[in-house]
Amino acid sequence: MVFYDQKKRAHLSQKPTQHTQKEALMCKVVVLTTQLVVPHILSDMLEKLAGRNPALAKWIKDMDTVPIIKECVQNAIEKLKADGGIRMDKTITDYYGKTQYKSHEGLDIIGAIKTDALPNGMGIAVDAKGTVKFIADEYRSGWQAEIKRLQGLFQDVFLQETAKTILSIIGYKVDTHTSVVDDPETGEKKQVVNIVGVAQ
C-alpha cells in the first residue's frame, strides 16, 4: 500500500510538471502587432506646411499627443463597454487565468476588454512614442480570432474618438451620427459613423 502511494505520488508530481513546462513555452502574454503608429512621412508633411505657415507647423510639431492618445484609448474602451458582450477590466490574465497583468514589458495597461470568447482579455497600452499596443495571451486559435475582432472594433471606436478630439482642438463643435447603409461591394448592411464638426 505504501509502495503504491509513493508510486502514485511520484507519477502525480512528474506529470503536471512536464505539462506545465510544455504549456509555459506555448502560452505567453505577448505584445501583439499594432497598426496605429505615427508615420515617418509626418516630418515631410510638417516641412511642407512650415513653408507656408511656420507658426502653425511649429504648434503641431511641439504638441505632445501622447496624453491625448491615452485619453482617446480610455474613451474608446469605455465606449466599447456599452457594446453587448464586452466587459471592461484593468488587468488581463495568462492562459491559466491565475497571473494577472497590470503591465507587460514596461507597458502599463490603460484598460482591458474581455468577452466570453476571450475571458482572459486583451489589454490596451500606449508606449512612450504614442504607439497603441495590444497585449494578450493568444494561445488558443479561438482567442486569436476574438482578439482580431476586438482589435477591429477598438480601432473603429479609437478613430472616432481621435477625430472628435482633433476637431474639438481646432475649434469645432462636434456631433456624432451613426447610419446603416448598403455596402455596394458585399451587398450587406454596414455601419458608418460620421463625426460632424461645425464652426462659426
Partner: protein
C-alpha cells in the same frame, strides 16, 4: 458656418464634406486635420466630395481673380 464630416468605417477614416470654406481655407483646414491625425498615428484618406471640389474650384477662381 463651416462644416466638416469625418467618416469612420471598417478601420478606415475619411475626411470629407467640407462646406462653407471660402477660398484656400478648405485645403489649409484639410492639411491641418491630416497632420494632427498623422501625429496621432492615424492614416487618413481625404475624399473628393462635391462640396470639397466646389470649394477648391472657388479657391482656384479666387487665385486667378487676384492674379488678374
Amino acid at each position: 458656418m463651416r462644416k466638416i464630416v469625418v467618416s469612420v468605417e471598417k478601420g478606415k477614416l475619411s475626411v470629407d464634406f467640407f462646406e462653407g470654406f471660402p477660398g484656400d481655407t478648405c485645403s489649409d483646414e484639410e492639411e491641418v486635420i491630416r497632420l494632427l491625425l498623422a501625429k496621432m498615428g492615424v492614416r487618413t484618406d481625404v475624399q473628393q466630395s462635391d462640396s470639397k471640389s466646389e470649394a477648391e474650384v472657388q479657391s482656384h477662381a479666387e487665385r486667378e481673380k487676384h492674379r488678374a
